[in-house]
Every structure is written in C-alpha cells, then in structure tokens.
C-alpha cells in the first residue's frame, strides 16, 4: 500500500507523513523522484532513520523516533512549522484513519470513550492546511468492521478533508459525487470492496489512476 501511495507522489512534492504505517511511504519513493519530507516538530528535509548507534535524541520526527536530515534541510520552530502546514504550503499529507466518511470526513484521533485520554497532536492542523490528504489504512478494522462509512461515529479530525484512500483492497477517491473506486488489489473484485465498505462506491476503474490527483499539485 505504501508503495502505491509513493507512486502517486510527484517529483518535487513536499510531503508530511503521519505516525505509523504512513512513515513507510518514504521508503518507496520511485527512483528519479526527489520528494521533501516535512515533520511538524520542526524539520523540512527529513532523511531516513540513522545508523544504529548514531541516533540523536534531539533529531526526531513527529512520532518521536530518531531520524536524519538531508543536505538542504532546514530546522525551524513550531509556529513556523505549523505556518507551513496551515498556510497550505505542504502538497500531500499521508495519514492513518479510524474512519473515513463518504464526504471525506476523517476520524483518526479519538475513540470518544469516556475514560480515554484525549490527544490530538497535529492531526487537525494537517487536515485543515495541507493541499491533499491521502489516507493509508486497512480496509476494515481487526474485527472486520468497515472503516469507510456513510458517516463517522468517532469524533472527527476534520470535515470533508480527505482526497484519496489507499487500503489493502482498493484505491478510492473522495469526489463531489461520492466515493469512486480507481483501482482494486489483484484478485479482489469491486463487489468485495463494496461489501466491506459502509458507504456506496462507484466503479470508476476505467479512468486512468493518476488522473485527478497529481496534475494540480
């Protein structure tokens, strides 16, 4: 999945990767493309994990893991970092999801349970400010419940913010007309994707897959 996302990131894009699975996208940037990764804790030009033993506890990513800085990187403070995010300067943000709705609402920060410790971090800033929001997630929960739903039941991270969803079963665009399946995984049928989805899908596999996404970045 991370490889499919990476294939849709154009040369020269500025990209923020959410904590967890989305971080894997950095490993799959196709040869010949230069993509600049931002981490909201204050670094543009984040490089791969450091060689074991050379970690610097003061050079970390938003997931608080040790990283490196590429040549041409820049450090900045938090207000400048979020000015970058909230001012619409980042091209793509790849995030995980608990639920995504047919309208592109995203829930990925809280189960809303009474005794949960609420913790939001930068998720609401990213979905409000970044030009394109890509979701990278398993198609269903571990219990088999759909994550793509008509209406989110968990507290929202943002309303109508998601542009595209990459799952283990399909690539789905959030369009003004609803959820449009652009691609399905090998051996998976459109019917199966629909069955495991809590919202109506349309089959738009004939449209070339990169059509609507990259051209206006």
């Amino acid at each position: 999945m991370a490889r499919l996302v990476a294939a849709d990131v154009p040369d020269g894009a500025y990209v923020n990767l959410g904590i967890g699975i989305p971080e894997l996208v950095a490993q799959f940037v196709p040869d010949g493309r230069e993509v600049i990764f931002q981490t909201e804790n204050g670094l543009l030009g984040m490089g791969p994990a450091p060689v074991l033993g050379t970690e610097d506890p003061e050079l970390i990513n938003a997931g608080k893991k040790a990283v490196t800085a590429i040549s041409g990187a820049a450090y900045f403070h938090h207000a400048d970092s979020f000015a970058m995010i909230r001012g619409g300067h980042i091209d793509i943000c790849v995030l995980g999801a608990m639920q995504v709705s047919a309208e592109g609402d995203l829930a990925n920060w809280s189960t809303g349970e009474a005794d949960a410790i609420p913790a939001v971090g930068g998720a609401m800033d990213l979905v409000a400010g970044v030009k394109k929001i890509f979701i990278l997630t398993e198609h269903t929960t571990k219990a088999g419940e759909p994550k793509i739903v008509a209406c989110c039941t968990y507290p929202l991270t943002g309303k109508a913010v998601v542009d595209r969803i990459y799952t283990n079963l399909a690539i789905i665009d959030v369009t003004a007309e609803g959820l449009a399946v652009r691609e399905v995984a090998p051996g998976v049928s459109f019917a199966e994707v629909q069955e495991k989805t809590g919202a109506k899908l349309t089959d738009e596999r004939q449209i070339p897959k990169t059509s609507g996404v990259n051209k206006d970045l």
Partner: protein
Amino acid sequence: MINKRAASVAAAVADIHDGATVMIGGFGEAGSPIELIHALIDHGARNLTVVSNNTGSGRVGLAALIANGQVAKMICSYPRSTNSMVFPELYRKGCIQLELVPQGTLAERIRAGGAGIPAFFTATSVGTVLAKGKELRSFSDRDYVMEYGLRADFALVKAEKADRHGNLVYNKTARNFGPIMCMAARTAIVQAKEFVEVAGIDPENVVTPGIFVSRVVVVAQPAQESQLVKEGRCYP
C-alpha cells in the same frame, strides 16, 4: 552591564510563585529542560498551569512535576505517549485539568501571545469537538474558529548556546517550542549547554534575540529523559 546568567538552576526558578502559568519547552524529550523542571520540583511552587506539548514520560522531568502534585492544569496537544502514565492516572482520577489544543493552534496561540495579538482565526478544528463553544466565522466562504493568544508568567526552555544578552541558538528539532515560549512569557528562563561570548553567535544566526530572555543558566551535560526512563529513575 547586561548579564543574564544565573548562578544555578535553583536561583533561576526561585521566583516562580504558586498559581503561576509556566510554559515548558520540548516535544517529547527533545528540548525538554529537565534540570529546570527538577529545580522547580525542589522549589515546590504549586497550583501551576503548565503549557507544554506533552505531559512527560516515566517519573522524571515534566511527568515528575505532575506526579508531585504541583500542576493543577495542563494546556497541551498530546498528553499521551509511550511511558506516559502519571498524567493519565491523575486525569482519570479527576486530579488534574486538561485543556486540549491542536498542536498548530497551540504554537500559534503562544506566538500570538508573544506578538501582542489577543485573538486570531484558524481553520484547524472546525467541525470537530475541539471547536465546541468557540466563535465561528466565515472568511471567503470558509469557516474558521477564533482562538486566543496565550501568555505565561514564566517559560522554561532548553537551548544549545547562550550569551550574556540572552541570545540563543538551539539544537536541531529541540528548537520546537523554545523560541515562541521565550516570546510569550514575562520571564523566560533558559538552560543552555554552553555559555559563549557575545561575539560567539553570528547576528545572522541568532534564533531567539536576547530581548525575549530573562535568565540563562548553564547545564553543560543535560540528562536525556529517555535514558532516565530506561534506567527507571524517579525524581526526586
């Protein structure tokens, strides 16, 4: 002559009063001014409102300050992380208040406080529970919430180098909240690894100009939170 150097971490935090609002720098352990926080524990000021991105980990640093019952309220974006149990426990018991703020809004509110801006509008959190009760307003057909600038009585910040004017540079991603917290606090207290001559920082490379800093104390070999947690250390 201007010389903002304080003799010790104890002297640097001595006037933090009960009920003060204290901004504490750091994103996780990066930039966390552990020695200043420990001095604040020794000092004992209580009923504090603390503004910090996280709530610390293990039983050292910010987590220890909270465990010691000195913090009445946290204003933060992410009070949950690996090895964070002190805050969750007290929060579930109702012993500590929480104002949860999106990370970018938190940063912008601190910067606004330091820049004399009482309020501003942002698209972040619109349509979510964190916008509940907040003023909504539309500009060019998009909705925004109004957020307030945030100031503090004190800031505790970790820097890499400082001079006697209080000019600062930071180390890599440990910069995070330091510069804006120095701006937003009436008294910014800084622990720096190194104290340099006034000519020791190129004027082009100063990150925090000295005007925003009240005191500097040298902590040449600051502890790393993750290391202390790994060793199972507790403070005090």
